[in-house]
């Protein structure tokens, strides 16, 4: 009796917004910093302090809402979510429950079979992040750092529209790209600027009612998310198959052990006693403000893909890889702006850049070299000032240290030697030193010329113009 099950997944995605200051005070949002240095009476919940909303937070939330096809709620409000925890200085979080800023959106993903599917977005709301607890096991104390307290977040709540880990990853990648393109966040899962909680249930194919769902937390990478989904799906199916019930609960994923454990069940779920935040006035988003934000929306990936093909005439495949990261797309456009030659710039990004990223286990976001330097390198290679092997050598330096290629080529004397006199001398010497190869060549072994070219390049320390070497060699032979 093998029954067939389907997984039903919805996501709650928290994204830290890239504002310079916190959501309700003027403190810095910079990551790191000595504990409790980015704090003030407001973000430490001191008695008598009051929140003042950061306008940029509303604009970022609107931008994400517009880019994910949401309806913007032009009269939205903040509410208080009440719960006690030491990282939450007021013991309530200012969030949005009753009137969130965005509703009823969705993004399109590509499924495994290549077809398109829309994942619905139920709502997006704005809220403040909590501080961080540091547990000192040595002294058996917990210490709280409020630097993160009040960092702005948006929570993107999807509909339960996903059916597999692949769809979840596709959805998250889509969201991440959109948000990065908007500049609203860097969306780094490992640093916590993007966090996803997975709500999952299973149902028998053909069922009409959803099964009981669980919520999985502590998912810090796409890989962990995929594994947690697989694990939780199997756990729930095992329960059902053995005649047990799935309990509605929050579970914590332990990626090292590839298993999860229950944190709290619905029965002991807290009553957050939400009510409208009396210290903040309702936010009215005027038509003008909405239009202003809409008109400032940057070009998103879909539009870029089309433009790269039509304007830069680069292949779809190249465009897809380059636009898979906002950082890389920016780098590409800025470089082309400086030196033209889109295909050549694309080749550097598609080839050497991707190779080195893979080799160093880096993300495109981690690229350090500047468009100015890449443009300079493209020009140097294109003008024949350096040959292609030298160019690759220079690029590697540039990749690690953002080295200035012009300066590097100068300092290391890597310019291609185009001086025919000097070349001729060197080649004559090579011919004298390698009579066997010369004979082979004359006896019809075409390959022998390759050896002689190599010897010449070696003697010229790689700086010779290969075309010229070939020409002179043949002449002399």
């Amino acid at each position: 009796m093998s029954r067939e099950y389907e997984t039903v997944i919805g996501l709650e995605v928290h994204v830290e917004l890239a504002t310079k200051t916190k959501i309700f005070c003027g403190c810095s949002t910079a990551f790191g910093g000595a504990p409790n240095t980015h704090t003030c009476p407001v973000c430490t919940g001191m008695p008598g302090s009051l929140p003042v909303l950061n306008r940029q937070v509303v604009e970022y939330a609107m931008a994400v809402g517009l880019a994910t096809n949401c309806t913007i709620n032009q009269n939205c409000k903040f509410d208080r979510k009440n719960y006690f925890y030491p990282d939450n200085p007021q013991n309530y979080q200012i969030s949005q429950l009753y009137e969130p800023i965005c509703r009823n959106g969705g993004v399109e993903i590509e499924t495994a079979d290549g077809s398109k599917k829309t994942i619905g977005i139920h709502e997006i709301h704005m809220e403040e992040d909590a501080g961080k607890l540091v547990h000192d096991d040595w002294d058996d104390v917990s210490i709280v750092d409020f630097n993160r307290s009040g960092v702005p977040l948006i929570e993107i709540v999807s509909e339960p529209d996903m059916r597999s880990a692949e769809e979840v990853i596709a959805y998250l990648e889509k969201l991440r790209l959109i948000i990065q393109y908007l500049g609203a966040s860097d969306c780094k899962l490992n640093e916590g600027s993007m966090r996803a909680d997975v709500n999952l249930s299973v149902w028998e194919v053909g069922a009409t009612e959803f099964g009981t769902r669980t919520e999985m937390k502590n998912l810090n990478s796409f890989r962990a998310i995929a594994r947690a989904i697989e694990g939780e799906k199997n756990r729930q199916i095992d329960l059902i198959e053995s005649g047990e019930k799935v309990i509605q609960e929050t579970r914590r994923w332990d990626d090292a052990r590839e298993s999860s454990h229950a944190m709290r069940s619905k029965e002991d779920a807290q009553d957050y006693r939400y009510f409208p935040e009396p210290d903040l006035v309702p936010i009215h988003i005027s038509d003008e403000w909405l239009e202003e934000v809409r008109s400032r929306q940057p070009e998103l990936r879909t539009e870029k893909l089309e433009r790269y093909e039509s304007e830069y005439k680069i292949p779809r495949y190249d465009a897809e890889i380059i636009t898979s990261s906002k950082h890389m797309a920016d780098l590409f456009e800025q470089t082309v702006e400086l030196c033209g030659k889109p295909k050549k710039v694309s080749n550097w990004l598609m080839g050497e850049t991707m190779r080195l990223l893979k080799e160093h286990e880096m993300e495109p976001e981690d690229i350090v070299f500047s468009p100015e330097h890449l443009a300079a390198l493209v020009d140097l290679a294109d003008a024949g000032t350096i040959n292609s092997s030298v160019a690759k050598e220079v690029f590697e330096k540039m990749f690690t240290d953002d080295t200035d290629p012009k300066q590097y080529v100068e300092e290391h004397g890597l310019k291609t030697v185009n001086d025919e006199g000097a070349l001729r001398e060197t080649i004559e010497q090579v011919i004298r030193d390698n009579p066997q190869s010369v004979d082979d060549y004359h006896n019809g072994k075409e390959k022998a010329i390759g050896f002689l070219v190599g010897q010449t390049m070696k003697a010229m320390k790689g700086k010779a113009n290969p075309g010229m070497v070939n020409k002179i060699l043949k002449e002399l032979l």
């Binding site: 430490t44 008695p47 008598g48 302090s49 009051l50 013991n91 009553d271 210290d279 903040l280």
Partner: protein, 493 residues
């Protein structure tokens, strides 16, 4: 005569004329405090040393002509729920017994800029929850007119300090009548401004949507002067209103000809003391004699104000007071096992009974399944009450009535019956729900020699109308000094 028997504006004038120094004024205030605190206990904290330092500094600035405000060098008392940098701020609660703020409340800061000398922090009902100042963790304050009686609350310490002439004027806060009712009981004048007029930044919140800071003083002129000094739009308070018409002293005009005054019949029903009724109606006649048009009308909905108020105020308080948890500052229980127990014991031991009652009430009305039935319904009542006032203000410039149904009760008489105590707020509460300005000023004594307070209510942003009416009424009588102020006068200076 002690300098403390002068009004704040009178004293400020003498200081500006160089007839008196800020140092002398502060010395006299501190001497009065020393002489009368045992009998009255208006203050939780007296900051004598820094007050004297400050007085010297302010006097230097006055002498140099740098400080010309009418309040420069005049000593003031601050209710202990307003943050004062470096000066203990307890809200009269054990849970904040050691709390020293790192910043000063905006309203207090504005007084400091005007050259005020802060004497100390006044007693109050714990977290402003109460109508008698008996719920303070630091002892009761007594009414300077009769020390067997309460001063009212929650700004009982501020009102008693003004009545006992232990300061020239004071700041209070009013969430459901906490300035007007104790002003009435202590025979002084207090204004609760329109919501949003005075910044709440640094005011330790009780009911955020209702709280307003206001002045308490001997007369209307002082109150208008102080209110003018502390009113300003504050970008740090999102509920602060930008308004231009804060030149309240311009309304100190003895002319009410043609002013339309409405007396709500609802304020003269069951529970109103006969003496209070008589004094209030006499006051209305005085205004009528001066040319005001006085009419009786039905306001409606008054009986719904108290339940709506307690639902809204307690709901907000249950959340506002959550931060007092023993983690970051204030009281933490000595023995505990784990986080949950630390929270529970610290809060159980740190809060008094009335505060706990209101936290529980507020938590209940916000809990899942009850939110709609209580909190949302209370918000609808609030909107209806505002509508009833809007209708009334279409017909009247000012609404006139008592500030409280009785004069000051005896110590201990109120706490045994909290419902009765809550009902005592019936005439003041709806003003907070509707966000309106209200003033209470003395209008005579009852048969026991205790003061009766006349309340005048204005439409939103119409402080000037109630100031004008109050000022005109005030001209018909002399300021009556409390017995403590009179009897201790010689000894104090």
């Amino acid at each position: 005569m002690s300098l403390m028997s002068l009004t704040a504006v009178e004293l400020g004038k003498l200081i500006q004329k160089k007839e008196v120094t800020a140092v002398e004024a502060t010395e006299e205030a501190l001497a009065a405090i020393t002489a009368r605190e045992e009998a009255v206990h208006s203050y939780v904290t007296v900051d004598a040393e820094r007050a004297m330092q400050r007085a010297h500094k302010v006097q230097e600035q006055i002498t140099a002509g740098e400080l010309t405000s009418p309040l420069a060098g005049v000593p003031v008392a601050i209710k202990d729920n307003m943050c004062t940098k470096g000066l203990k701020t307890t809200c009269s609660s054990k849970i904040l017994y050691n709390f020293i703020p790192t910043y000063t409340a905006e309203a207090v800061l504005r007084l400091e800029h005007a050259g005020a000398v802060i004497l100390g922090k006044t007693n109050m009902d714990e977290f402003a929850m109460g109508s008698t100042t008996e719920t303070s963790a630091y002892g009761v304050t007594r009414n300077p007119w009769n020390t067997e009686h309460v001063p009212g609350g929650s700004s009982g310490g501020s009102c008693a300090a003004v009545a006992a002439e232990e300061c020239s004027y004071a700041l209070g806060s009013d969430t459901g009548g906490s300035i007007r009712q104790p002003s009435s009981f202590c025979g002084v004048t207090g204004i609760k401004p329109t919501y949003g007029t005075v910044s709440r930044y640094g005011l330790i919140a009780y009911g955020s949507s209702l709280d307003q800071i206001g002045p308490i003083a001997k007369d209307v002129t002082d109150c208008a002067t102080v209110l003018e000094a502390i009113s300003a739009h504050d970008p740090k308070d999102s509920t602060s209103v930008k308004r231009e018409d804060t030149d309240f002293t311009q309304a100190l005009v003895d002319d009410v000809k043609g002013m339309r005054i409405g007396i709500p019949n609802d304020y003269f029903g069951e529970g109103l003391d006969a003496d209070v009724r008589e004094r209030i109606l006499t006051a209305a006649k005085e205004l009528e004699k001066k040319g005001a048009i006085v009419e009786h009308f039905d306001l409606g909905l008054v009986k719904y104000a108290i339940p709506a108020y307690y639902v809204i105020a307690c709901a907000e308080a249950s959340s506002n007071l959550a931060r007092f948890d023993g983690v970051k500052y204030g009281y933490r229980t000595e023995d505990y096992d784990g986080l949950h127990q630390m929270y529970k014991k610290s809060r159980s031991e740190g809060f008094g009974a009335e505060v706990k009652r209101r936290i529980m009430l507020g938590s209940f009305v916000l809990s899942s399944g009850y939110y709609d039935a209580y909190y949302l319904k209370a918000l609808r009542v609030k909107a209806l009450i505002k509508q009833a006032f809007d209708d009334a203000f279409a017909k009247y410039d000012v609404i006139l009535g008592p500030a409280a149904p009785t004069t000051a009760p005896k110590l201990g008489a109120s706490l045994s019956d909290p419902i009765q105590m809550y009902l005592g707020d019936i005439y003041t509460i709806s003003v907070n729900l509707a966000g309106l300005p209200g003033i209470s000023l003395p209008c005579g004594l009852d048969s026991h020699g205790l003061p009766v307070g006349l309340q005048l209510i204005g439409d939103c942003f119409q402080e000037k109308k109630i100031i004008r009416a109050a000022y005109a009424f005030e001209q018909t009588r002399d300021y009556a000094r409390s017995s403590i102020a009179q009897e201790q006068n010689g000894g104090a200076s």
